[in-house]
Symmetry: C2
Subunit: 162 residues, 2 copies
DNA sequence: TACATTTGTGTAACTGGTTACATGAATGAT
DNA sequence: ATCATTCATGTAACCAGTTACACAAATGTA
């Protein structure tokens, strides 16, 4: 059964980035597949936006900062959510550049059902990380390291150290 | 300094998937930035293809299986690498469907320099995961869990269990 | 040998991110 | 009050993956 060999895993640290991407993509596409199978007309990356707007109305820039996602990425997501009737916007009264984004009636109606699916998904994450008690702490540590010095900065330093 | 708060981290398991994606994207774009800053005309996802073809010539399907990447994804990468003169192909003598992919002279000439950059990058991964001794084992465990049952299958089960 | 199936590759359309650039509104400094 | 700067949003072009479909070559089977 040599079939289980994994080129990326064999590479150890060299394959780390690709494996993280593979994991991320794997869950992403599987989530989309799940929604499709349940006839839900939502996308995986809408989840956190729903959670944010469920708490309070926000502007696009605020959302982009909360999620640490570029604002053009948020524009695309929000536009699609608007098109599907889950988000509506109204201009800010004091600053005409801003548009206040909020959930529609359709959202409020669907959210209880969506939450059931999201909870099932969180349970899945719980399952697959069950043997990795400290995975969130480790993720945190890696994020902290990268916030102290980006991959680029660190790699430049390492290159010239050689 | 409440600015350091991270909505995704606060969500714990709910934010796990998005944080993994954020990490993956962060490293990916920073790597591209690095290559650009060093005037290297290569893309981050070419790394493993170089490593594979450095060992032996392979077909597109073989590469796609090794990397566990869809074959259309490989087609795109390979075409770009061909266009940039790093890969050449010749038809298989016994099976005219297959094309054998191999590195060009340009590749062989550049690889020593590329390896220096890749090694600096691996050193960076080493740095940022230094406090996470068992990160590779944990990744392995998560991959194994998902290979036993996909995110979709597990989440369906969890949904109907509710 | 003829025909159905599998395999290798390619293309199209999609989601999901990025950086770079543009523009009009708000803010701040002189 | 004016002008430079910053801020909020939008658009374009790009990279990176997916699934679905197409098609010819190879293989297996009756």
């Amino acid at each position: 059964m040599n079939d289980m060999r994994d080129f990326l895993a064999d590479l150890e640290l060299t394959g780390f980035t690709s494996r993280v991407k593979r994991l991320s993509d794997d869950i992403l596409y599987s989530t989309r597949d799940y929604y499709k199978s349940q006839d839900l007309d939502i996308e995986p990356n809408w989840h956190l936006i729903f959670l944010l707007l469920e708490q309070k109305a926000m502007t696009l820039t605020e959302i982009s900062e909360e999620l640490r996602l570029s604002h053009p990425a948020c524009v695309k997501i929000i536009n699609k959510m608007k098109k599907m009737g889950y988000i509506q916007s109204e201009p800010d009264k004091t600053d005409s550049r801003k548009q206040i984004l909020e959930l529609t009636e359709k959202s409020l109606e669907m959210l209880p059902e969506f939450h059931k699916h999201w909870n099932a998904g969180i349970e899945t994450i719980h399952e697959i990380t069950a043997d990795c008690a400290e995975i969130l702490e480790q993720l945190q540590k890696i994020e902290e390291k990268l916030s102290q010095g980006s991959y680029k900065i660190r790699t430049l330093r390492n290159y010239y150290k050689q």
